[in-house]
Amino acid sequence: MKIVIAGGGKVGEALCTDLSAEGYDVILIEVIEERLTKLIEKADITGLVGNGASIKAQLEVGVDTSDVFISVTNSDELNIISAIIARKLGAQHTIARVRNPEYFVNMNFVRDELGITFMINPELVSARDIMTMLRFPYAYDVESFFRGVVNIVEVEIEEDSFLNGKMLQDLNTSDEKVLVCIVDRNHEVFIPNGQFVLQAKDRIYLTGSEEAIHEFWCVKKSPNKRVRSVMIVGGSRISHYLIEKLIKKNIKVKLIEINTKIAEEFSFNFPEITVINGDGTDQDLLREEGISSYDAVVSMTGIDEENMILSMFSHSLNVQKTITKINRKMLMPILDKIGLDSVITPKKVISDLIIRFVRSEGSTKSSKVETLHRFLENRVESLEFIIDGNSRALNIPLKDLKTIPNLLIACILREGQLIFPGGQDVILEGDRVLIITTKKYLDRFDEILVS
């Protein structure tokens, strides 16, 4: 599959490395020659120095025969124009990164008349992801499947936890509503079976519906099931979208913003929230505004380091949930060491989204990938498939199904019913199946079978 990317910025870079590693033919159009050369050395791609919106440049790299065209330069208008041109030249799908919410109206017109398959707004998507994180305040990471019916959440087992020392098959044998699907022990990844014994300090990934996970995990810690108040530091675009969503959920919000004008604007737009004009890194101010009484603190300033320090400070005051925005990916490994775990990186959010789209489009043969999430520095993937009639796995009891190692069929959604399958269960046509695996780059369901 041939993919043309216009713009080699942060998102473009992430797309180039990830998509080429998955085996797609990637061609990058980038204005700055040095940046292109660097990327060609880093990822197995080829490229052209030029303007992504120029027809000549697009024809030279063969957009007319490409499957997906992705425009992720830093200008909304350029991205829209490039995508329109690419579509007219014959690209199958076009994706444009568009930030300005004014362009986000009338999406049918955009799709049908302009021919842009979809526009993505990194800030909006990030805000949505933060909302998911806030739904599970005790979890380090949350991903949703089956349109939100099933979630995978990452939690850590503490010394005094009821799970410490338990064998998996001894857990809630009566009605299996929650499943432990991945265990991360000292950075070693396990996809556990029934005989697996949990230990303190294990990071485990729980699969189940929101209610079931709450019930399972919060047996003892009932007070903090839900987030009812949030303090946001920094009035960024993400904050804007986030506040909109929080207000809808009736959650109390306090925003701290250093710039008076921006603070006033937020106050005007959202009369429901409290806006404080002040320096978010000033600890006295934060104490004065009662930071420790909030269920969650979201650090959204434009400076990574400030966000990190803010979150560390909130941690020290025992705020249960802190969410940190980090722009630079290279800071990620050290965050874990200093105890910041709920991190949002807008460029990673949208590159994941695009990759998911590309992969589901790439597998046209059968049983497409619906959603894809990656955990633990991309070492584990969870994929959602819709099973079609040609699958070789149909109507075979799972215990007789010969699958590749390190693979778990986590759950099945059949006609709105969530099933955690046992050995006797079978897969039927039309099922939505969620699998967890350490094997990378699966794009068809039947690839899980041993051939």
Partner: protein
């Protein structure tokens, strides 16, 4: 420095060589040669497998950077020549180690300088291996590895950059593996066509294959004493003359033709410069030679073949240009330095570098005359950045320094100036025969051992375009901090 990854990759390449050695082994069986030859090949293969056990396990950290790429390329070329020379030694046909190493290095680097005096006593399998090294070395061993091993990781771009000749490296396709495969497919198809053409000219099958290998890699090892002369066929001389020129063209142009970008391919500035140089040189030599020739046709044929063989750095020979007038010899000597196009199998400075150097000189002159003028260096209708221009001029400087160095070492036991100078030029630029006592009718058997070692290195350094070998031997590379 990721040493484990270097060892692992080099061992993998050596195992690839072991597989390639199965070919001459089968040739040996086919011609029912004495047992010693079969043992020589089987033994070498077994030895390689035993030695490469040290790099059997894939290291955990597989990231490599340009530094490692350079080291892998230069190290593997030296070791390939080392292990490739074992069959010659074990079979007893080239008993001396230095001679065998010289011959193999000459093969892999597609030089074609030989220390063998009488080819008629050499067995088929050894002749085959000798010419086959040209074929492998022409497009490059690492490119071959990239084409067939799917698990060569993305950092391999550093390896390919180090091995493919030319000032700029262009990827044809977005996947490195597909690029390498496409290059090899074009290469193999062209070679096969050449084999058929040679066979049609009445050349025996065995010779057709070997001569085609020598042409494809622009190497130049012959099969009969006297190179191409014994076939005594103007047809074969013309076929080879044209074929050599074709293998001296940038392979990217063939790819462009494949994807039907004819116009772009024909418009290539380097191609035009290359063909003009050939045309001008042939004309000048014909004019110079005509008085001493009876027939104009033979004169043109000899001049064309000599120009083609020298500019593409192949080194086959028909007429003895060592006995031509000085003017013709000087032109040939200069062509040795020019070489053919970048991205081809040929050696030398490469036409594109020469063109950029000349343009750069003119621009310099212009800046002298009009100090305030703004000048932009263009090549192939694209702007050449200052960094590229600098890298080309620097390359030329380093090239000259190394040339001088080899000239001094070689002069220690050379009979005369012409021999000494042309033998360095002929090996450093991967041509093969030089002038004087290493001319087309002589060979390298008589030169001293010190010269043989120095020239072996000159060949490898020349083939890899200097810098990879410099990186390998530079203490800076191995320093920890």
């Amino acid at each position: 420095m990721n040493k484990k990854m270097i060892v692992y990759t080099v061992c993998k390449l050596l195992r690839l060589e072991a597989f390639l050695l199965l070919l001459p082994l089968s040739v040996s069986f086919f011609y029912r040669e004495p047992l010693q030859l079969k043992w020589a090949y089987a033994g070498t293969i077994a030895l390689i497998f035993v030695v490469t056990l040290i790099g059997h396990k894939k290291p955990d950290n597989i990231t490599i950077y340009s530094k490692e790429g350079f080291v892998i390329v230069s190290l593997s070329w030296m070791l390939l020549s080392l292990f490739g020379s074992l069959p010659f030694i074990l079979s007893g046909e080239i008993p001396g180690f230095i001679d065998a190493f010289f011959e193999t290095a000459s093969g892999f680097t597609t030089t074609g300088s030989s220390i063998l005096v009488d080819l008629s006593v050499i067995s088929h399998s050894n002749l085959f291996w000798r010419s086959f090294t040209h074929f492998i070395g022409g497009m490059g061993v690492l490119v071959l590895a990239l084409a067939i091993f799917p698990d060569f990781n993305t950092s391999s771009i550093f390896i390919m950059k180090a091995e493919v000749p030319g000032p700029q490296f262009g990827k044809l396709l977005s996947k490195l593996m597909h690029t390498a495969r496409t290059l090899y497919i074009i290469y193999v198809v062209m070679t096969t066509v050449l084999v058929l053409f040679l066979r049609l000219g009445g050349m025996p099958w065995f010779d057709s294959f070997l001569i085609a290998f020598g042409t494809a890699g622009t190497g130049g090892f012959g099969v009969q004493n006297g190179s191409i002369l014994p076939y005594n066929s103007p047809y074969i001389e013309y076929v080879l003359g044209i074929a050599m020129l074709l293998f001296g063209i940038n392979f990217n142009l063939y790819f462009m033709i494949l994807i039907r970008k004819w116009k772009d391919a024909v418009k290539s500035e380097e191609l035009r410069a290359y063909l003009s140089i050939v045309a001008v040189s042939v004309t000048l030599i014909v004019l110079n030679l005509l008085p001493s020739y009876d027939s104009l046709r033979k004169c043109i044929r000899d001049a064309f073949f000599a120009v083609s063989t020298v500019i593409t750095t192949t080194g086959f020979s028909t007429a003895d240009y060592g006995s031509w007038p000085a003017f013709s010899q000087v032109i040939l000597l200069l062509l040795m330095f020019v070489g053919a196009c970048a991205g081809s199998t040929a050696g030398g400075l490469k036409v594109s570098r020469v063109v950029i150097l000349i343009k750069s000189t003119f621009l310099q002159l212009q800046r002298m005359i009009y100090p305030n003028s703004v000048t932009v260096l263009t090549f192939e209708k694209k702007r050449i950045s200052d960094a590229t221009e600098k890298s080309v001029t620097n390359y030329f400087t380093v090239y000259m320094f190394l040339f001088a160095g080899f000239l001094i070492i070689n002069a220690l036991n050379a009979p005369d100036f012409l021999t000494s100078f042309s033998s360095v030029a002929a090996t450093f630029n991967n041509i093969g025969p030089g002038l004087g006592k290493v001319g087309p009718t002589y060979n390298y058997a008589e030169i001293g051992n010190l010269s043989k070692i120095a020239l072996s290195f000159a060949m490898i350094i020349g083939r890899l375009e200097i810098f990879p070998m410099l990186v390998l031997f530079s203490p800076m590379t191995w320093r920890k901090h």
